[in-house]
């Protein structure tokens, strides 16, 4: 029995007031200087260099395992020599087995599918505190890990174990240097003191502290202001559940709790045993060499091996044999007793043996139920063992999982010995270590088994990822005159045609009806000619339910088709919450709210467009108005896209001139905004460009000669093609401004777009005040894309700037041709009214999601400027801020 040795001695929080002699400071400075130089030189080493050195060190560690174990026991008078040999060998061989093929230099891991790679950067100089309980094995472990990661280490061993540690460091150092490691890579404090630790912990050239020790050492490390790995004490609860293999469990516990006389902090402390097996388990312990204490003996243990003042274990018992402890406290046991088993009735200060005991004394508790057992384990866990280690013996997977959920421990060992199990790589696939991270519960930054990756700064090299994009449109699009005939090919028992009164009166419904298959029962749902309201939608859904519709034909402009999309959604998925589905999002693939996929009913949606503008027949959008709240809700999801689109010009031949102009400008704006959108792709570009070409050519003709079949047909196609572009590339700030302005002053959408369009092109073509982050685009290209449009239209111009200016002029000319107002002032809105409305307009425009794909991030003051330019109108669209380089 040793005299009152102090496990906690090394654990005092160093005080800044504690002084060192100049000679001692010079000694410490020299160690740091050497280590710093070594760490710097080490950065030049290759993986092959360090692997060669590590292998040599491991062989030296194995060769010297017995020598070092003997020194450790002689110096510390703790533990079992034979077990310490095993520890030294595990620290060498098992750690080597784990690290040998791992890359720790240069690129250490690659994730090509994520365009990521990890590159190792050494930490530099580490100051490492090692414990009295596992002195040489911890040194061997840390030396191997340090060399593998190209770091230098200054060891601060426990004062009562410094000689054996110094010898272990010397063996590792000499072997490492012999095989090429830089001089000064390891050193070990001679006659270490707490002021030494304090000095080194705060030294500017010490990059990290790795403190394996008691709570004081860990706290000191974390308080030093340096990055620290700190691992501390445990208090391992064990649940021995009734389904467990009892023979195996008892042997495992004895192996673990007597290994090195219980000095491993992951060893079992309190075993909670189910009532049904309690007596049987205790008998097995006794049969295998444990002494089961009676109540009086337990009281004796409580008084002697636990400090009544602090409630912690008495250092004199640490690492001693069970028989020596018994002899010392006057407890009569058989000579071959391995373990003292003490029944306890609770956890806490009133039950002193429920704390950590780094010696072969094991508390046991009889539990009457799983719930009680788990509760007591949680209590033990929280009595000084949070984050460390816990053990469960059971064949019941549910019990094991529940134990894992309720216990806060970095290592939860199942059906194996706690101490050796926690070390890793022997009984399980945990990473081998001699440093157990205890998480925040233990004041640590990690719950891991500390190993090579904790000794590295891991840098992530993240290459730009080309995100997947998409091009999604209806399965089938039928176009040109009489394309409506194609509805016949779709079988339906019950079809509901959603339309508005005007279209019904014009005979459009009859045209559709005539083309449906003869066996189809047709019902017509006439809705008001306005943006759909919730009430209208719900009435429509009732009709769909009543007729058990298997096909919906939306015949109309944007409002009717939008209404039909939402009716279909609510018909198929009645639980769909429209408000919730309208939640804002930035990226379609990452949106929080998902549209329903489970369908109660199923109906095909055929959209037949009767205007040439919105393109709603192919888009995934639908706008809904809630009159009660006065809110407008935009739904966006590809599940809203109609199944079939019919683009038949016979339904637009009678469109009035004003509507032709407004919807045609809407189509042109869709195409121009999709063309420069941050989500533009070659797929959307081809559609956008074609739509622009068609609109420029045919919109004036369709406007002037409404019965021109070719012009009507091409404008109808242009609207659909532009919609395919913006369905996948989205729109931009023009739409955000137009939505806000149109809603506030009751101006038709196309007309509102027209008022903004020239100004927005000039704005987007200039150097942005603020670029919009976008992983989809490389560089700023809007001005060049506008120039490409100008080329496509044959507008002429030599430089990009000239081409953009010509495009703006051509659009202005087109707008004039269409007779649309060219300024907000022309609409009769007074300057005062407009000024008063400005804060609301800007707020509404900024809240509009349309601009999120705009190539230039619109600042609020820029929106104000754009609104005023639109107010002023003609002549205000001037290209400013384009650089010389841009203009080339």
């Amino acid at each position: 029995m040793i005299a009152s040795e102090t496990v906690q001695e090394n654990a005092r929080v160093p005080s800044a007031a504690e002084s060192l002699s100049p000679e001692r400071i010079a000694y410490l400075e020299n160690l740091v200087s050497q280590a710093r130089t070594a760490a710097a030189i080490f950065t030049q080493f290759t993986q092959e260099d360090v692997d060669r050195i590590v292998k040599a060190m491991v062989l030296a560690g194995l060769e010297q395992a017995q020598h070092l174990a003997r020194l450790a026991v002689e110096e510390t008078r703790l533990g079992v020599m034979e077990d310490k040999v095993i520890k030294n060998m595990v620290a060498s061989e098992f750690v080597y087995d784990y690290v040998k093929d791992k890359r720790t230099v240069g690129i250490i891991r690659e994730f090509p599918e994520r365009n990521l790679m990890e590159i190792a950067e050494p930490i530099g100089v580490l100051f490492s505190i090692t414990p009295i309980t596992n002195p040489t094995s911890t040194v061997l472990f840390k030396c191997i890990v340090a060399i593998k990661t190209r770091n230098a280490v200054i060891f601060g061993p426990h004062p009562k174990a410094w000689r054996c540690c110094a010898e272990a460091v010397k063996i590792m150092y000499e072997t490492a240097v012999k095989h090429g490691a830089p001089e000064g890579v390891f050193s070990c404090l001679e006659s270490p003191t707490i002021p030494d630790n304090a000095y080194l912990m705060r030294h500017k050239d010490v990059a990290m502290i790795d403190a394996t020790g008691g709570p004081g050492a860990v706290k000191a490390a974390y308080s030093s202001g340096k990055p620290a790995l700190g691992v501390g004490p445990g208090n391992t609860p064990v649940y021995l559940e009734k389904s467990a293999d009892l023979n195996g469990a008892v042997v495992d516990i004895i192996i673990s709790k007597t290994f090195d006389n219980g000095t491993i902090c992951a060893s079992e402390q309190t075993v909670v045993i189910d009532d049904e097996i309690y007596d049987q388990v205790l008998k097995k312990f006794a049969d295998l060499g444990a002494h089961i204490c009676n109540e009086k003996e337990t009281k004796l243990l409580e008084r002697t091996v636990i400090d009544p003042q602090t409630g912690f274990m008495q250092p004199m018992a640490v690492g001693q044999k069970a028989t020596d402890i018994a002899r010392f406290i006057g407890l009569a046991v058989k000579p071959n007793t391995k373990l003292l088993v003490a029944p306890i009735r609770g956890v806490g200060r009133e039950h002193p043996l429920s704390v950590e005991k780094l010696f072969p004394v094991l508390a046991v508790y009889r539990a009457n139920s799983v719930a009680e057992a788990l509760k007591v384990c949680v209590d033990v866990n929280h009595a000084g063992g949070i984050g460390h280690t816990a053990v469960v013996f059971s064949r019941n997977d549910e019990v094991i999982r529940k134990f894992g959920e309720v216990i806060n421990a970095g290592r939860i060992i199942v059906n194996s010995p706690g101490a050796i199990g926690a070390l890793g790589a022997v009984y399980n696939d945990l990473v081998p270590t001699f440093s157990f991270g205890c998480g925040t519960g233990g004041g640590n930054s990690t719950t891991d088994n500390v190993n090579i990756y904790h000794y590295l700064n891991i840098k992530r090299l993240a290459r730009r990822t080309q995100n997947h994009m998409w091009f999604r449109v209806p399965n089938q699009i039928y176009f040109n005159m009489n394309a409506v005939e194609n509805v016949r090919q779709f079988p339906s028992r019950s079809t509901v045609i959603v339309t508005n009164p005007a279209l019904e009166q014009m005979g459009h419904v009859d045209i559709v009806r005539r083309n449906l298959a003869p066996e189809t029962k047709v019902h017509v749902s006439v809705i008001p000619d306005a943006e759909p309201e919730v009430k209208v939608i719900l009435q429509g859904v009732e009709e769909l339910n009543f007729y058990k519709a298997d096909q919906i034909i939306a015949l109309g402009g944007g409002s009717v088709i939008d209404a039909a999309k939402i009716m279909k959604l609510k018909y198929e998925s009645p639980e769909a919450d429209l408000e919730e589905l309208a939640a804002p999002f930035l990226d379609l693939r990452k949106r929080v709210i998902q549209f329903p996929t489970e369908k109660k009913n199923r109906a095909r949606l055929i959209a037949i467009a009767t205007t040439s503008g919105t393109g709603s027949e192919v888009t995934p959008f639908a706008v809904l108005t809630d009159k009660a709240s006065g809110r407008k809700v935009t739904l966006a999801d590809y599940s809203l896209t109609p199944d079939i689109a019919i683009v038949d010009p016979q339904f637009v031949m009678s469109m009035p001139k004003g509507l032709t102009a407004d919807t045609g400008i809407d189509c042109l704006t869709h195409a121009l905004e999709a063309g420069v959108s941050n989500y533009a792709s070659p797929y959307t570009d081809s559609n956008a460009m074609q739509a622009i070409r068609l609109a420029f050519k045919y919109l004036p003709i369709a406007y002037e000669h409404p019965r021109d079949e070719e012009a009507r047909s091409m404008m109808h196609n242009a609207a659909c093609i532009a919609a395919m572009a913006f369905s996948n590339a989205s729109v931009g700030v023009n739409h955000a401004l137009a939505h806000a302005f149109g809603a506030r002053f009751g101006v038709a959408h196309g007309r509102a777009n027209a008022l903004m369009l020239p100004h927005v092109i000039a704005y987007n073509a200039a150097v942005p005040t603020k670029f919009m982050p976008s992983p989809y685009t490389q560089g700023y290209v809007s001005h060049k894309k506008y120039a490409t449009v100008a080329d496509l239209l044959g507008l002429g111009g030599q430089t990009v700037e000239e081409k953009v200016e010509k495009l703006i002029a051509a659009i202005s000319q087109l707008l004039d041709q269409l007779g649309v107002p060219r300024s907000i002032a022309e609409l009769g809105i007074s300057k005062e009214d407009f000024e008063r409305a400005m804060p609301d307009l800007v707020q509404a425009a900024f809240n509009d999601p349309s601009w999120r794909s705009n190539p230039r991030m619109p600042l609020m003051n820029e929106m104000v400027e754009l609104f005023w330019k639109a107010y002023e109108g003609r002549g205000a669209a001037k290209l400013v801020g384009m650089t010389e380089q841009q203009a080339m």
């Binding site: 710093r36 130089t37 710097a40 950065t43």
Partner: protein, 99 residues
């Protein structure tokens, strides 16, 4: 202006010897000692010690020490041991890893 150019290689003894000889030649005149590092792939503690001593001698004599063609890995070592503040660098080289 005193201009001394000297090739160095990885031979530790020669590295230190060359610097010691060069140190003795520094006559205190204003100028620069240009050390050609283009063949230096790695430095060890002896080389660092010799370089630091040379830089100090040169500094005392008002001679600027210029390293030419320093490998970026060696430059990083000099940075880590804080020797770069005593030296000037004409240009660095980098051996790119083969991909």
């Amino acid at each position: 202006m005193a201009m001394i150019a000297m090739p160095l290689n990885m031979d530790e003894k020669r590295f230190a010897l060359t610097l010691r000889e060069a140190g003795a030649k520094l006559d205190g005149a204003d100028g620069a000692a240009i050390l050609d590092f283009s063949s230096v792939r790695r430095v060890d503690s002896n080389a660092l010690r010799a370089l630091e001593e040379f830089a100090q001698i040169a500094g005392d004599k008002g001679v600027k020490v210029v390293l030419r063609g320093v490998n970026i890995d060696v430059y990083k070592v000099l940075k880590l041991v804080k020797l770069t503040r005593l030296l000037s660098f004409e240009y660095c080289t980098a051996q790119l890893p083969r991909t």
